[in-house]
């Protein structure tokens, strides 16, 4: 019996592992509410990227179910599923032989939108992500890392999908650019009203961007917390993260808590 709740994405006792290998994700139960920004936080190899890829069907669960909009990912046509979900990764993966315009307009193009509509949408998006329209005619290699990442986000938003998956999108950028993009992301988020699942290993980024934080460790979901609750939580896994943050900048944490409330 499948109950369609208000959860746009749901994990039910999901397990994932490659045959003969360790289980990358274990006993995962997670509900994502429509319109929220859920940040998956954890160390490298903790299972957060695997979890993300289970949502858009790049990976299929070994057992259990991943439901998107009430339907199991295995029941969806994988192509249709992925076109309803925006996907932005750390390496960006812009097509080097396409101009910025063609890159951003990719999904509308393969969805068969008329070219005028695509052109308009691309212009709109470039402005939205803070890029000069003129950059549309350039090639990715002519852009800076920050600009490329913005193009990646624009591309993910192009067909106006209800869900956006982002895998450490700001990870490869210098701290100043990263900070800039994080702030712009917050502004964008309010305007877009999408459900966003965001993967990071950076606690500060998680505290800044999340409505809720899902902490992963060794393939298991330790818990889901609001940023305020996270700072107060007692679980050892949480404490380890807070300690690492505290060690980096003593005194900065209290400032963080103030900003949150």
């Amino acid at each position: 019996m499948t109950m369609v709740g208000d959860y746009i994405i749901e994990f039910r006792d999901v397990q994932y592992g490659i045959d003969g290998g360790p289980r990358l994700v274990c006993g995962l139960d997670l509900q994502v509410e429509r319109g929220e920004t859920l940040v998956l936080l954890g160390r490298s190899g903790s299972g957060k990227t695997t979890t993300l890829k289970l949502i858009n069907g790049l990976l299929a669960p070994s057992s259990g179910e991943v439901l998107v909009e009430g339907r199991a990912t295995t029941a969806w046509d994988p192509i249709r599923l992925r076109r309803r979900i925006g996907y932005a990764i750390q390496e960006v993966g812009l097509f080097p032989h396409f101009t910025v315009e063609r890159n951003v307009g990719l999904v509308p193009h393969i969805e068969g939108w008329p070219s005028e509509k695509i052109g308009e949408r691309v212009r709109e998006l470039l402005i939205l992500v803070g890029l000069d329209e003129q950059l549309g005619k350039r090639y990715p290699r002519e852009l800076s890392g920050g600009q490329q990442q913005r193009v990646g986000v624009a591309r993910a938003l192009a067909a106006d999908p209800p869900i956006l998956l982002m895998d450490e999108p700001f990870g490869a950028l210098d701290p100043i650019t990263r900070s800039e993009l994080q702030r712009e992301f917050l502004g964008l988020r309010e305007r877009l009203g999408k459900t966003i699942v965001f993967v990071t290993h950076d606690l500060r980024e998680a505290l800044l961007l999340a409505h809720r934080i899902g902490l992963f460790e060794a393939g298991r979901l330790v818990g889901v917390y609001t940023p305020v609750d996270f700072l107060k939580a007692r679980e050892p896994a949480v404490a380890a993260y807070l300690a690492a943050l505290g060690a980096k900048e003593s005194g900065g944490r209290s400032q963080e808590t103030e900003d949150m409330s």
Partner: protein, 211 residues
């Protein structure tokens, strides 16, 4: 009579042999590309086949060219006409570099690009035609270039079985112990190989610069 004089006096024969040579190389390379590139693509989709297919192509290349020509002679339709046999042998020779480069070119595409394309909902066909093949094209052309240059060389052996081409002069010269005749075949063949290498090299560079 110097070499240039020889070329001038026999210009119609030289031209005929050069054209025969070009025809053999051209047709066989085209056939090898038509078969080899799709096979190379297939290998990237079905890795299980790579050992047998790459293995067979490798075996073909290992067999000495003269021996390959000899082995194919008894075949029914092919062995009947020397030029068909030559084209078949040359095609088999050209397969390995083309298949291997197609495979390498496609698997060498930045995995982040492939992941992004797949994650956004491109079908396998769209990914292949719009992303992987265009990005692999430089490497594929490099394979065709290697195959062509090898073909020009192996095609000189074709004269041994009567298929014509510039090898005619070489073999005739060897039989008559006439060095000028040997050079009359060897030099144009070498020149052809260099021209082919150079022009395909330009194409390769042009493609790569657009990426």
């Amino acid at each position: 009579m110097g070499l240039l004089g020889f070329f001038f006096n026999n210009r119609s024969e030289v031209l005929e042999l050069t054209l025969e040579h070009l025809w053999m190389v051209g047709v066989s390379t085209l056939l090898a590309a038509t078969v080899g590139i799709p096979l190379g693509v297939l290998l990237t989709r079905r890795p299980a086949f790579s050992k047998p297919i790459l293995g067979s192509a490798n075996v073909m290349q290992t067999i000495p060219s003269l021996a390959l020509f000899g082995l194919l002679l008894p075949m029914p339709w092919i062995g009947a006409r020397a030029d068909r046999l030559a084209v078949l042998a040359l095609t088999l020779y050209a397969l390995l570099p083309i298949i291997r480069n197609t495979h390498a070119g496609i698997t060498g595409v930045d995995p982040a690009v492939v992941e992004a394309g797949r994650g956004m909902g491109m079908t396998d066909r769209q990914l292949l035609l719009q992303v992987q093949l265009p990005l692999a094209l430089g490497v594929i052309i490099a394979g065709v270039r290697v195959a062509t240059v090898i073909s020009v060389g192996v095609a000189t052996i074709a004269a041994a079985i009567g298929a014509g081409g510039l090898g005619e002069y070489i073999f005739r010269g060897l039989a008559m112990v006439n060095n000028q005749l040997i050079l009359a075949g060897a030099l144009p063949a070498a020149a052809l190989a260099l021209v082919a290498d150079f022009s395909l090299g330009l194409v390769e560079r042009a493609i790569k610069s657009r990426q």
